[in-house]
Amino acid sequence: MTRFWQAAPSVGHPLTRIEGLDKVTGRARYAGDVAVPGLAYGAVVPATIPRGRVLNLDVEATLAMPGVLAVVHRDNAPRLTDIGEGTLFLFQGDRVAHWGAPVALVVADTPERAREAAERMRVDYFPEPPDTVFRADHPGLYEPEYVNPRNPTVTGKGDVDAALAGAAVVVDAEYRTPAQHNNAMEPHSATAVRSDGRITLHTSTQYAYGVVPTLSKLFGFAPGTLRVLSEHVGGGFGNKGMPPRPDTVLAVMAATLVGRPVRVTLTRPQLWPLTGYRTPTAQRIRLGADQDGRLVALEHRAALQTSRLHEFTEQAAVYSRPMYGAENMRTSHRVVALDVPTPRWMRAPGEAPGSFALESAMDELAEACGVDPVELRLRNEPAVDPTTGQAFSSRRLADCLRVGASRFGWAGRDPRPAVRRDGRWWRGTGVAGAHYPARAAPTTAHATALPDGSFVVRVAASDIGTGARTVLTQLAADALEVPVDQVRVLIGDSGFGPAMGAGGSMGTASWSWPVVTACRELAGRLAAGEPLPPDGLTSTFDSTAAIGARADYARYAFGAHFAEVAVDVTTGEVRVPRLTGVYAVGRVVNPLTARSQSIGGMTMGLSTALLEESSMDGRFGDWVNHNLADYHVATNADVGEIDVTYVDDPDDELNPSGVKGLGEIGIVGVAAAIANAAWHATGVRQRELPITPARAAR
C-alpha cells in the first residue's frame, strides 16, 4: 500500500490520502454521522418574508405534534451577547432580516418529525417592502471602510483619466457575474453535547478552533467550556469558514434548553440563505495602452452586495492590484446592503470574479492592439508590485504563460474569431493569467515522541477534502527524519490550540509552520539524548512571532490557464474539451493531492464559466433554484482533458516549508480563459457569466 510509503524524504512523493480508505468504506464519521446516545434533532423554521417582523409563532400547536420535545424561539432562547455578527444573533428579537432567516427551531425525537413540525408551524408576519435586487446603479451603493478580509477599499496612483484620454488604444467594458452558492456535498451540521458543565460540539467546519472564541463570546461561556470536533469535513469551498454558521448556535441553544444532545442539520435549500454565497458583481474595467499593448492606465471598479445583518464586501477589484504594470492605476469597490442573506467567502473570493473582468479585458485589449494575448501579458509584467511598490518574494507568471503556451500548443494560433468551423462546432482558444496571495496565519502545533518509537502531531487543522492531513504527515515525517508510517497527525480538535482554518489557500502554509518547527525541535531534543518519559516527550511551537517577523514582500502564487472551447452552431451549447493549468506555487508537497486540488479548482472555474447562477426572485428575496437539480455544477461529462503542471518556484521568503498554497489559484482566471475562447470561437464577446446556450451564440 502506498500509504506506508517508505521514501525519505516524503515531500515530493504522491502519498495517497491517509484517510482515503476510511472515506470510501464509510468508516469516516462526518459531523452529522457521529453516534450520540439520547440524541434529539432540531429543524429550522425559516422566515418566509424578506423583511419585516414576526408577529406570532404558534408554539402550542407545534408542541402538540408527534415527537416534538421543544420549540426554541425569541421568548425562550438564551440571551446572547451582541458580538457584531448579525447572522448568529438568533431569536433575540422579532426582526426578519431576510427570507430564510431562522424564526424558530423545532426539536423532536426524530429528524423527520422535527422537520415535519417545522414545516407545519404557523408563523404570522408583519411584512415590509423589501429591497432585494442588486443593480450596478443601485442608489444605496457606498464605499465601505475596507473590503474582505482587511484590504483597502480604494487604491490608486497617477491620473487614470488623463492617461486614458491620451492612450492610443482604450478598452472600456462592464463585466457581470451572478450570485453563486458554495454547495458542498456535506450539509452544515452541528451536534451539541452537554456534560458536567462543558459542551462538545461536533460540527462541519473549515476552522475548528475559530468556532470556540466566537460562540464563547456569544453565549458568555468561560474559557474551557466549549470544545469543537471536526474530524472530517465533506467540502467547504468557503462557506464553512468563519464565523461559525447558525447551525452551531442553534444546536447549543437547543441542547441547553432540552437538556439532551441536539443535532441541527440544515437542508439543501436552507444552506442557501444561512451559510453564505458569492455576491453578484458588476465590474467596470478601463484599460489604456500604447499601440503595442503596453498599459498606461488600468482601472477596475467593482459593485457588490451585502446584507443588512453584516457588511461583507468581496474584494473583486483587488485582483488588479499586483497583476499587470501601469503608471496610472485605480481600483475601487462599492457595496449595497440589501434585504438578502449575507454573502461570504466562496472559492477564491475576490480573485475569481475579479480575474474574470481583468483577464477578459486584457483579451479585448489584445484584440484591439492586434497583439497575441500571451505576448500582451508578457509585455505588461511589472518589476515590483505596481500598487504597493513592494518586491515580489517570487513572481513566475511569465514562466507559467510560456510553459502553458508550449504544452497547450498555442504557437501559430490564428487570432481571428469565428473562422474555425468543425462540423457542428465553432472552435476557439483562450488564455488568462492568475494569481493568488500566499499568506500564513498564526498557529500552534504539538509534536510528541512516544516510547514505542512513533510520533503524534496535534494541530487544529481542517481537512476539507484537500489532503491537508496527508501533506502535514509528510512534512512532519521529513522534519522528524522518520518514515511517514511512524507519524500520526491529529487534526480537527479545538483543544489542540489556536490554528488557522482551511481558507484563503493558507492551510498548509499556516499549519506546517509550527508542525515542521516543533518536529525539528523535537528531533533535536531526541538527538541530544533527552530522556523519553512514559507519556511521551512533546515540543510545542506557536508561529505568531515568526510570522510577524517576516520581511516586507509581496507574496503571491501565479498561474496561467489555457482553454479550448467548442460552441454548437445550432444550439449555442458550450463545451470545453481541453484546459491547461500551469502554476508557480512554491514547493509542491504532494503531487497527487496537489493535482487533485488544481483540477478541482479548474473544474470550479469551468463550472462558474458555464453553469453556476443563483436565481434571485426579488419579490421573495429568495434564490428560487436552491437545489442541485436547478443550480447546475459541472458534472464529469462537462469536464474534458485537464493538463496540470507546476513550474519551479523556489521562494525563501515564505515559511519553513516553502509552500504558497494552491487551493484556489486553480479557479482564478479559468472563466476568463473560457470566455475568451468562446469569443475566439464565435466572435461574440462574453461579458456576463454564466455562458449559457442562450448567451453563447446570439
Binding site: 415535519e116 453553469l611 426572485d617 428560487v624 447546475h632 458534472t635 462537462d638 442562450a694
Partner: protein, 327 residues
C-alpha cells in the same frame, strides 16, 4: 415529511382498488420523482402503494406493435434490442434523460406522470396554481427561463420535464391504463390536459388510474427517427429544448413526418402545424425552417425565455435535415 403507510400491491386490481378511491394515496414506482416531492413537502400522501412487484415489466411484440410494461426501467427500455432497432428516437431520448442511477430506477409509467420542475412548484413556501390552485403563478414574472413558450396560460407556464414522453408523442404511442372500470387505452397525446385555468389537473384520465403500459405502433417503411436534446450542462440536466422526429422521404418529398417538442409546453408537444406544412412537400432545409416557424407562430415567450423560439426552430431544422440527409 408526513408520516405515511406503505403497502405492496399483489395485483393490478388490488393496486387500483387501494388508490382509486383515496385521493391521499399514490402509486410508488421507481420513486425518483414522487419521493423527492415528498421530501420537499409538495406531495403529502398518507398511503404509498408500491406497484414494483406487479408483472408489468416486460417488452413484448403484439403483432407489429411493441408493448412496453409500465414497470420497465428506463435503462432496460433504452437497451432493448427491438427498441434500438425499430425506434432509435426512443432509445436516444431515454439515454438523454437523468443519470445512469436514475434510469436504473425510473419506470416507463412513472416517467409519463412525473411533475414539472418549475422552481415554484417544487418549493412549498411559494405560491403555485398547480400545487395550490388559486394561489397564483409567480413564474410568469419570476424565474421562467426554462418554462413554456407554447400552450401556456395566464395560470401556469410550467413545462413537462420528460424526454421519453416527447419521443412517445412522436411515435404515436398509446397509453394502457386501468381504473375501477377496467383496462382501456388512449393516445399519449390525449393523456395530458391542456393547461387552461386548472393547471393542477394534468391528466385526462380518472384520478387513481394506473398506467400499466405503453403501446408503440410500427413505423412506416423507410422511416428514420432521432432525438436531440439541448441542455445547459452536458449531462444530468433537464432539456431547455428537445426535438423527437420521425421522417420518411420518398423521391425528395416528405411522405410522413412526426415531430415532438420537449421543454416547450405543459406536456410533450406534437408539432402538428409543422407536420401539415411539410407533408407532401420537399425535404429541404428551407421547408423545414418554414414549417418550424409556422409551428412557432403561436409561441408566447416570456421576458426570459424568448431565446427558446429561435432555438427550437433551429433544432427542428437540424434534426430533420440530419434525418433527410442520412443514408
Amino acid at each position: 415529511m408526513r408520516e405515511f403507510a406503505y403497502a405492496r400491491a399483489r395485483s393490478v386490481d388490488a393496486a387500483v382498488a387501494l388508490v382509486a378511491d383515496n385521493p391521499e394515496a399514490r402509486y410508488l414506482g421507481g420513486g425518483t420523482n414522487l419521493v423527492d416531492l415528498m421530501e420537499l413537502g409538495v406531495e403529502r400522501p398518507e398511503l404509498l402503494v408500491d406497484v414494483t412487484g406487479l408483472p408489468l415489466d416486460d417488452v413484448t411484440e403484439d403483432g407489429a406493435a411493441l408493448r412496453v410494461g409500465a414497470l420497465v426501467r428506463n435503462s432496460d427500455l433504452a437497451a432493448h434490442p427491438l427498441v434500438r432497432e425499430r425506434y432509435p428516437v426512443l432509445s436516444q431520448a431515454l439515454l438523454a434523460g437523468a443519470s445512469g442511477q436514475l434510469r436504473n430506477a425510473a419506470t416507463t409509467g412513472g416517467n409519463l406522470v412525473q411533475r414539472t420542475r418549475c422552481v415554484y412548484f417544487t418549493d412549498a413556501t411559494k405560491p403555485c396554481n398547480k400545487r395550490m390552485p388559486g394561489s397564483g403563478c409567480p413564474a410568469i414574472e419570476g424565474e421562467h427561463h426554462n418554462l413554456a413558450i407554447l400552450g401556456a396560460s395566464d395560470h401556469c407556464v410550467a413545462t413537462h420535464p420528460s424526454d421519453l414522453a416527447v419521443a412517445l408523442a412522436a411515435l404515436d404511442a398509446r397509453v394502457d391504463l386501468q381504473d375501477l372500470a377496467g383496462p382501456h387505452e388512449i393516445p399519449l397525446v390525449d393523456f395530458y390536459r391542456p393547461v387552461g385555468d386548472r393547471p393542477d389537473l394534468e391528466l385526462t384520465v380518472q384520478d387513481g388510474a394506473l398506467v400499466t403500459g405503453v403501446a408503440l405502433p410500427p413505423l412506416p417503411a423507410g422511416a428514420r427517427s432521432a432525438y436531440r436534446k439541448v441542455r445547459e450542462r452536458a449531462s444530468y440536466a433537464f432539456a431547455i429544448a428537445s426535438v423527437a422526429a420521425v421522417l420518411v422521404v420518398e423521391d425528395g418529398l416528405v411522405s410522413d413526418v412526426r415531430i415532438g417538442l420537449g421543454a416547450v409546453a405543459s406536456h410533450p408537444w406534437r408539432a402538428r402545424v409543422a407536420e401539415r406544412a411539410l407533408l407532401g412537400g420537399p425535404a429541404t432545409e428551407a421547408a423545414f425552417e418554414a414549417a418550424a416557424e409556422a409551428e412557432l407562430d403561436s409561441a408566447t415567450p416570456l421576458r426570459d425565455n424568448a431565446y427558446k423560439v429561435p432555438l427550437v426552430r433551429d433544432l427542428v431544422v437540424a434534426v430533420l435535415a440530419g434525418l433527410a440527409g442520412e443514408r
